[in-house]
Amino acid sequence: MSEQEYVPKSKAGKWFNDRLPLLSLASHLTDYPTPKNLNYWWTFGGILTFCLLTQIITGIVLAMHYVAHADLAFASVEHIMRDVNYGWLIRYIHSNGASMFFLAVYIHIFRSLFYGSYKSPREIIWIIGLMIYLLMMAAAFMGYVLPWGQMSFWGATVITNLFSAIPLVGDSITTWLWGAYSVDNPTLTRFFSLHYLIPFLILGLVVLHIWALHVPGNNNPVGIDIKKPSKDTVPFHPYITIKDAFALLLFMIIFAGFVFFAPNVLGHSDNYIQANPMVTPAHIVPEWYLLPFYAILRSVPDKLGGVILMFGAIFILFVLPWLDTSKVRSAVFRPIYRQFFWILIVDVLVLGYVGAMPAEGIYLVLARVGTVYYFLHFIVILPVVGYLEKTEPVPLSISDPVLTGSADYSMAKKDNEKI
């Protein structure tokens, strides 16, 4: 990883490091040269690590008190809320923590979209990140089922039923997923098992995500390649650690605001009614962070088509590095792409909004327009804009913000001349 050899000062340290180079790793992590112009949008990696660890620690404690059984789960959650010392705090941190985790991951993803962090040579970081995001959605969905409230039960029913849309084997797959002929106790126990497993898979992927990041180093708001180490970089510690700590504290204030003063505002009141297979709620809605995908799912009149589009909306992101044809990374120098970036944000927010509304009338129209635009953005707009856009001159280095243009961006310059 790091080019310069690290030699521990003490004899014991050297002895240990020769056998397991943990001290070299620690030295690499503290000295890791980081662009000095990283803004606060770059602090969400650290915030997300905090979120993951918070979920794991609170989750381990909750699992000590929770009972994964269809007849006992709801009561065991109330037991946690009432009888376990600070059980309410641990559970509210865990349930709101999921929302905060997604809030942070969406900011992290859109930061990558704005500054072109997914582009060469960082495609693998981006793809590992998407795998983490997929696992997060699976973990969050299964976690929401565990309290065995009405939304838990009916959300699980709707989502698992999606697999029945697969031709020929769909029904068998759904039965296999349930472990029964409907969502029932076997479904709950396996969801609990998987819900406990997935965070550790995520943790493993996070290590790979950071490892892959440390090969090319961080992208930065200007989006240019920089020499490392140089006057454009600072050592990770203390410069980035203190900045990450400050941003994390601000994030924790918002987090605490939800936990202590509005712990149920992000949840659905129906989930405080015990699951009842005989009573369907008036509107079945997922948690807010899945709403845009839910809107895409419901915008298609055909079930299989809806399922394909919903999963397609995520999987299209895997090929994003190859759909974006622009050589310039940062949207700061891409006046046209910048506009489309904001339109995409509005599009996703509108999809999220209509996802929470009944699928009828104006909402259905909006969902369809939003879905079409979402795919249009990635399949048509990104490749075309990359070719046609007249990008602004890119600086040579961070320390030298004079707009001089660069040999590295001769392609972009040629494009400029064409237009």
Partner: protein, 258 residues
């Protein structure tokens, strides 16, 4: 900035559309509850009166299976004295067992017992109430959109059905209930209970008291949550300021002009 403006216009127009659409449903009455807000606390006397209303009126049909009698004496709740809690618990017959002979038996309740339910199970409760199960009220306030305001509104929302609305036997008209039809009769009438503290037992007073009690039952941690929350946020704000100053100091080596 322009993009944000456009976005907000879109959201605004959507929300206006939304309010027009749901105009048929009456919004619950907004009550200025003492337990709302960052430093909200329950009104102790109201909680005690509310328990009395629950016990004398609601408890004949509605269970509260997740509460224990000891909760009535815990800090942040009605805070009955230890003797009062023991006396309340002892007033209930609790089925216990099996004993050494394998027989179930009844004994007077203890503070550690859960609230005794009026019916042995959900089916029995539904059968005794015209097919409608009177919901368990332990977390009822959290389980309804609108929370305390909604529960209070339903309790005071009974009126004669408007012309053209025909109700079946055992169904009542309530302007705040979703769908306006409710199987629970209007059980509150002025002077129904005699409050120990001399408060006049109007329908409005009883509805407010019992709703306060139910809000506490759903969130018994509310007061300590609010208190802890204020401390946590103060601590985080102070720490943020210190870390911010340290950060400025450290980064001044890189950006001396800042």
């Amino acid at each position: 900035m322009k993009k944000f403006k456009i976005f907000f216009y879109i959201l605004l127009s959507l929300s206006i559309f939304n309010t027009i659409k749901s105009a048929e449903q009456i919004d619950p009455i907004k009550v200025d509850w003492s337990f709302k807000g960052l430093l909200g606390k329950f009104d102790r006397a109201s909680l005690q009166r509310g328990y009395q209303v629950y016990n004398e009126v609601c408890a004949s049909c509605h269970s509260m299976q997740y509460l224990s009698y000891r909760n009535l004496g815990e800090p942040g709740g009605p805070e009955f004295s230890e003797e009062e809690v023991k006396a309340i618990a002892a007033g209930f017959e609790v089925t216990d067992g099996p004993d050494a002979q394998g027989e179930m038996f009844t004994r007077p309740g203890r503070p550690s017992d859960k609230f005794v339910s009026p019916y042995p199970n959900v089916n029995a409760a539904a059968a005794a109430n015209g097919g409608a199960y009177p919901p368990d009220m332990s977390v009822l306030v959290k389980a309804r959109k609108g929370g305390a305001n909604y529960i209070y509104s339903v309790l005071v929302g009974y009126e004669d059905p408007p012309p053209g609305v025909i109700l079946d036997e055992g169904v009542y008209y309530n302007k705040y209930m979703i769908g306006n039809k409710i199987k629970m009769p209007n059980n509150l009438s002025d002077g129904l209970v005699e409050y120990a503290d001399g408060t006049e037992a109007t329908v409005d007073q009883m509805a407010k008291d019992v709703t306060t009690f139910l809000s506490w039952a759903a969130e018994p941690e509310l007061e300590s949550r609010h208190k802890t929350g204020v401390k946590v946020i103060l601590y985080l704000v102070l720490l943020s300021i210190l870390v911010f100053l340290s950060m400025k100091r450290i980064w001044s080596r890189v950006n001396p002009e800042e």
